[in-house]
């Protein structure tokens, strides 16, 4: 096996730490950290899915939180109607997200650059206002999820179980994205990002591959939404507000676009900084903003890039 570099070690240490969160939280009677890290692993899954298209495919989707919302509402609405089967909810969430991504991607992927960003944002805003208009399901106020999803063999009532399910989903997403970005499909996505003109010249019509990537990412993200609804026992349009989409982009950029562990690094950093900084001041973005700016200006590969640079220096 290849020896691990600094980012490999960091990722491994981080994952081991994540595995140990529930017993540690119980030992030190700090339930708060279990909840914080549940949010971290759920949002990491969402960030991993965005990284697939943004980082590897160069598609800056500014509406990715919409899929979190779709997943969350799949749980909220089905639970409202008395359907609590987790598998059915999961299937529903993924199917709706896939159809939405297919329709939105089919239109938006015909554009490039700023237009693509604006169109994905516009679609996400449309869905946001659809959710606001769902007065039966609480409209702007959202609705409470009275019963968490039941997966037969396990339920998500126990916070530790929910945490480990979310962690397992996150690791599965990480594994899937690792396989995918090194597959034939993944190399086409990367090629389209790197030089789409050359892709056409060597014989690739990249549109359908980019569309497929867009659908995979949206579907994967909806799973995070299912978990998030269970975690907060509540769904509301705020989940898919455009600022949430912005947060996801920040997580990916902060961690390092187009790197395997980038979304993990980025989400951990983002949510922990939010937690720490908002303890100092309510306007925590005043501190977070310059930090992000410095990172983007001086380390273009994000946290992953910083770690990689360290490795290169260390190897000599």
């Amino acid at each position: 096996m290849k020896s691990l570099d600094a980012r490999g070690w960091t990722a491994l240490a981080l994952i081991l730490l994540l595995v140990a969160v529930p017993p540690l939280a119980r030992t030190f009677d700090q339930n708060f950290y279990l909840l914080l890290f549940t949010r971290v692993v759920i949002m990491t899954t969402a960030a991993i899915s965005l990284n697939l298209i943004l980082g590897y495919g160069g598609m800056v989707s500014f509406g990715h939180a919409m899929y979190v919302g779709i997943g969350a509402y799949a749980v909220g609405i089905s639970s409202f109607h008395g359907l609590n089967d987790g598998w059915a909810q999961m299937a529903l969430a993924m199917a709706v997200a896939a159809v939405a991504a297919l329709a939105i991607g089919a239109m938006s992927l015909r554009t490039k650059g700023v237009y693509f960003i604006m169109i994905t944002l516009a679609f996400a805003q449309m869905i946001y206002f659809v959710a606001v208009g769902l007065s039966r399901y609480g409209g702007d106020d959202g609705l409470t999820v009275k019963r968490r999803s039941d997966f037969g063999l396990f339920g998500l009532k126990d916070p530790a179980v929910l945490y480990y399910v979310a962690l397992a989903v996150m690791l599965a997403a990480l594994w899937l994205s690792w396989r995918m970005v090194n597959s034939r499909f993944g190399l086409v996505l990367r090629g389209a990002k790197s030089n789409d003109r050359r892709m056409a010249a060597i014989g690739f019509a990249t549109y359908r591959y980019r569309l497929a990537g867009f659908v995979v990412a949206g579907t994967m993200c909806a799973v995070a939404g299912v978990l998030l609804a269970n975690f907060s026992d509540f769904v509301s349009p705020a989940t898919m507000h455009w600022t949430r989409s912005g947060d996801l982009i920040v997580m990916v950029v902060l961690g390092g676009m187009g790197s395997l562990f980038g979304p993990l690094f980025g989400t951990v950093a983002f949510l922990l900084l939010e937690e720490v900084l908002s303890g100092i001041t309510e306007a925590w973005q005043i501190i977070f903003g310059p930090l992000l700016l410095a990172l983007v200006l001086y380390a273009r590969g994000g946290i992953d890039g910083l770690l990689a640079k360290r490795t290169e220096r260390g190897d000599g």
Binding site: S183, G186, R198, A200, I202, G203
Partner: protein, 252 residues
């Protein structure tokens, strides 16, 4: 007489008021190296872009291997056996040299909806890619990032990417662009090695290269073909000398 591999018939391309390609007709025979020369702004690169399918012609017809391809998009033309290189190097800069070429091989090895298997360990892609790299003299450089190659090496990779699609017709847009005399001479040798295997349309400013490689030459001036013939015929052609060759030969 054999059928031409590529027939361009009264092709027209206008950019606003400028007619970049002006009722241009041209035939490329199988197996030949057909050079297209002309002063700057003669419409050589525009012509290549239209043959490759990046630019849509306004009028006229392009036939390749007996099929009308005038309206086909670039990827479809690639699959019919057309490949091009770029005057301004156009690679996958952040990928390794081998990844670059393997991607071109992959484009012609069925669909790419394969999500899980590691493409970098796929012998169906890697073996042909390495073979092409050996042909252009980059065998030792496979694991280097394309962006880290020297200019001359990047020009070689340009051609490797086109060759990897196993074309029947290779469109080379100034393969010697930006090269020193020594590098150019080596590139001419490489192209000599390739020319027995594939038909080539060669756009080039380097007259040494053109006269060393071309079987036939077409001279373009203001988007029009003013002459086509064997190199010695073109050298003697008074119209050509006046329009283009004259000053270059006087200089040499």
């Amino acid at each position: 007489m054999a059928e031409p591999l590529l027939t361009i018939d009264r092709l027209v391309k206008r950019f606003g008021g400028l007619t970049a390609t002006d009722h241009l007709s041209l035939e490329v025979m199988p197996g030949e190296v057909h050079a297209v020369i002309g002063p700057n702004g003669a419409g050589k690169t525009t012509l290549i872009a239209q043959i490759a399918g990046e630019l849509r012609a306004d009028a006229g017809e392009i036939r390749f291997a007996g099929e009308d391809i005038t309206r086909l998009p670039a990827p479809a033309r690639s699959h019919r056996g057309l490949a091009r290189s770029f005057q301004v190097t156009s690679l996958f800069a952040d990928m390794t040299v081998e990844d670059n070429v393997a991607l071109a091989v992959q484009a012609h090895d069925g669909h790419s909806f394969r999500f899980l298997a590691d493409a970098r360990r796929d012998a169906r892609l890697r073996d042909p890619a390495r073979a092409v790299l050996a042909r252009v003299g980059l065998a030792e450089r496979g694991q280097v990032r394309a962006a880290a190659l020297s200019h001359g090496e990047q020009r070689q990779l340009e051609i490797a990417l086109a060759l990897a699609t196993r074309p029947r017709l290779l469109l080379l847009d100034e393969p010697m662009a930006g090269m020193g005399a020594e590098e150019s001479a080596r590139m001419i040798e490489r192209l000599r090695g390739i020319k027995s295997q594939v038909t080539i349309v060669l756009v080039e400013h380097d007259m040494d290269a053109v006269f060393a490689l071309a079987d036939r030459i077409t001279v373009l001036v203001y988007g029009r073909a003013i002459a086509t013939g064997r190199p010695d015929e073109i050298r003697r052609n008074a119209q050509v000398r006046e329009a283009y060759l004259g000053d270059e030969q006087a200089a040499s």
